[in-house]
């Protein structure tokens, strides 16, 4: 529900005064022109972030460790905004030039962290969530880092830099929490 509200806000800022479109530097919104690898990156990253949001939204009420609860809430809030911004850039860039497309499920062998979390009771929830989030944010940081040298749009490069930095820092925070370690 939050995501939908924020997305609406992306097109109609007046609807949600709490959520200004971030525009700290290098322009944003419709003035940011994305194409080529930037578009590929934004598609891949938003798909990844949708999974991150699904992970943090499974059952936040089961989180016991207060630091984890705070961090997870902040991750949800910030990534919701990032996804809204990325979608706005992609919309402004116009429709994808179709062609050779194929969609298929996530590569096999990947355990679904969402269903794993859904099946985890409160007793072990913190540990599983930390393990899943560390793996998820490591992937995000790596994708972003790989794009730093390739980005054409300054705003997209800036986003990639912030994703790399923030996810790397989140992993440090997560692994410093007093939570048992389990395999991701």
């Amino acid at each position: 529900m939050v995501a939908a509200v924020l997305l609406l806000a992306g097109c109609a800022p007046a609807a949600s005064p709490a959520t200004p479109v971030p525009s700290p530097s290098n322009g944003s919104g419709a003035s940011t022109v994305v194409g080529g690898l930037d578009r590929v990156f934004l598609h891949a990253m938003t798909a990844h972030q949708e999974r991150t949001l699904a992970i943090v939204r499974v059952a936040p009420q089961r989180i016991r460790q207060p630091g984890l609860r705070t961090l997870v809430a902040a991750v949800e809030a910030t990534e919701t905004d990032e996804v809204a911004q990325a979608r706005e850039w992609l919309r402004a860039a116009g429709p994808d030039p179709g062609g050779h497309r194929h969609e298929h499920p996530d590569p096999s062998g990947a355990p679904d962290p969402v269903s794993r979390l859904r099946d985890t009771p409160a007793a072990g929830y913190d540990a599983v969530l930390v393990a899943v989030l560390v793996a998820q944010q490591r992937q995000a940081a790596e994708l972003a880092r790989a794009h730093l040298a390739l980005a054409a749009s300054p705003a997209v490069r800036d986003l990639a830099r912030r994703i790399d930095e923030s996810r790397t820092a989140q992993i440090r925070l997560l692994t410093a929490l007093p939570v048992a370690r389990v395999t991701p």
């Binding site: 529900m1 939908a4 609406l8 700290p24 690898l37 961090l71 809030a77 590569p107 859904r118 440090r172």
Partner: protein
């Protein structure tokens, strides 16, 4: 403006996940460094490439092919050696980085110059990281070379292909002592040293925003001479500077 509300109104995990998977450009991977031909096209550094510009990660075909395009007609430009592909200057060893936008379980990665396999890295049938890097020794070669990089998927009959043009002896990485391709661990985030993130004991009034501090709702900070009020409790981290994260900070 047309509103494209693709995020579900009911944000259940299942729905969000399936939407994420449906993102059309998510598929697969390509060599980002040294830039492959499809990366150069997508960056616009080589013009008039056609469809590959929009999906450099989609050069997929059955295993065992030896062309840059995987035989895909739309991508035939990748096979054309006369397109003025810039060759990246490299030393005698080259580190190739794949960006995997879909992380298929992998049997191996192979690297070819002409008919010679110059490198192979086992994937163990496992799902790779979002990016992987391999260092390949090209000590026996010189001058301009076209390297075919192949990512062999273990759970389908297919592979992904990328051609990378390099100029050997043109600088770049120093020679590696290892005679065979070695898999570099890649830039994995350090998870060893927990930072000194002791929570700030009391609400902060004023002061300069600082990574590592814990902020509560209502805390005031300045960042680059602008004042912000915290609107959601969090520990500040690099990348979450106040102007970038309106979910956490409101300018006052």
């Amino acid at each position: 403006m047309r509103r494209t509300l693709t995020v579900p109104l009911v944000a259940t995990g299942a729905v969000v996940t399936s939407l994420g998977l449906a993102a059309p450009a998510q598929a697969h991977g390509y060599v980002s460094a040294p830039p492959s031909r499809q990366a150069l096209c997508a960056q616009g550094k080589v013009p008039d490439c056609g469809q590959i510009r929009y999906e450099p990660q989609s050069v997929e075909g059955r295993k065992g092919l030896r062309s840059c395009s995987a035989g895909i007609t739309q991508f035939a430009v990748l096979d054309d050696d006369d397109r003025g592909w810039p060759a990246t200057p490299v030393g005698s060893t080259v580190t190739f980085t794949w960006v995997n936008t879909a992380r298929h379980a992998t049997s191996n990665w192979e690297y070819f110059i002409g008919g010679t396999r110059v490198g192979v890295v086992d994937g163990g049938g496992r799902q790779p990281e979002a990016t992987v890097s391999h260092t390949v020794n090209l000590g026996g070669f010189s001058g301009r070379q076209k390297i075919l990089a192949v990512w062999n998927i273990s759970d389908t009959a297919n592979a992904f292909y990328a051609c990378v043009d390099v100029q050997l002896g043109g600088g770049g990485p120093t020679p590696s002592p290892s005679p065979t391709p070695t898999r570099t661990p890649g830039p994995t985030p350090t998870r060893t040293t927990p930072p000194p993130t002791t929570p700030a004991p009391s609400p902060t009034v004023g002061g300069t925003w600082a990574a590592g501090r814990s902020y509560q709702v209502g805390d005031l900070v300045t960042y680059q001479a602008v004042s912000y009020r915290c609107r959601q409790a969090h520990t500040a981290i690099p990348g979450w500077e106040p102007p970038y994260v309106p979910a956490l900070w409101t300018q006052v």
